[in-house]
Amino acid sequence: VTTVDALQTTLAGEHAALWLYGVCGGRASESLNSSLYTTLRAGYDVHRGQRDQLVRTLRDLGTTPVPAAVAYDLPSPLASAVDLQRAARDVEQRCAATYAALVAQSVGDQRRRAVTALTGAALRVLDLGGDPEDLPGIGSPGAG
């Protein structure tokens, strides 16, 4: 796995995260659950920024960024506020793992951005009802 491969994998993850956040945000009720709606909206904005940053980085490296898929598998069920929160939390945990992998495969400013993104994902897990972990993005040693 090269740094470009890891960046492309991370970008693919951001495409998926953005898509799922868009779906969840569209299904969340701003009036009935404003807290969840605000959290999902903020998460969407963060992932859009990170996607755009990754696209710029890959283009600067002379590489064509991977495009978003036409569609993604939706978690099921995805109807209640609890479902939406869990789906977004799962996405953040996957993003944390992806950014942790990018940390290992990058250096310098790129690694710094990956460390920051890993921490951001870990904090959004809390906002989405998760609990603190000993090693976010890695999990328990030996677990997989």
Partner: protein
């Protein structure tokens, strides 16, 4: 220097083996099953890289150990914070175990534990500042690490401290 050389070599070996073992079995990216190779940008680890990483590891380990000592002293000296600081103490212990798994720890100078007493709000503020510094230190160490796997471990430590900081109460709570 000669007397300590074999131990240094042994710790170097443990650093490489331990960092890999720590993450072995974890699928780095759930979307792919491709094997993950060493970071191409760092190339083959050099002795200088490994020495720097061992120094980095010792530095972070000392900072985590100091944080644990302070958290335990605060729990002891300020009973109102005992419950609130329990998760932080458990986290630091887990982090020390993870760091010791990456390489056997260098002998550390023993320092007397701090004595923390007095105003719970001030004590909580002190813990918050200490943990904030630790979080930045782990993040900086991650960026500086020569080994990609060590960088990943240190980044996870930083993220974990950030999570626990976010869960610290705003105030000391009611007396227990």
């Amino acid at each position: 220097v000669l007397a300590t050389h074999p131990a240094t070599v042994s710790r170097r070996g443990a650093l490489v083996t331990g960092a890999v073992l720590l993450t072995a079995g974890c699928d780095l990216d759930p979307r792919t099953s491709e094997p993950v190779e060493p970071a191409p940008t760092s190339g083959a680890p050099t002795t200088t890289d490994e020495d720097s990483d061992l120094a980095l590891l010792d530095d972070v380990r000392a900072a985590v150990a100091q944080a644990l000592t302070t958290v335990l002293a605060t729990r002891q000296g300020v009973p109102r914070l005992r419950t609130a600081l329990g998760p932080l103490a458990a986290m630091h212990r887990a982090h020390l175990a993870a760091l010791d798994g990456a390489a056997s720890p260098a002998p550390a100078a023993s320092r007397p534990p701090p004595v923390v007493t007095g105003d719970p709000a001030a004590a909580l503020g002190g813990v918050r500042r200490l943990e904030t510094r630790l979080q930045r230190r782990c993040a900086d160490a991650s960026v500086s690490a020569g080994s990609g796997e060590l960088a990943r471990l240190l980044a996870a430590l930083s993220a974990s401290v950030a999570q626990h900081l976010a869960r610290l109460p705003e105030g000391p709570g009611t007396p227990q």
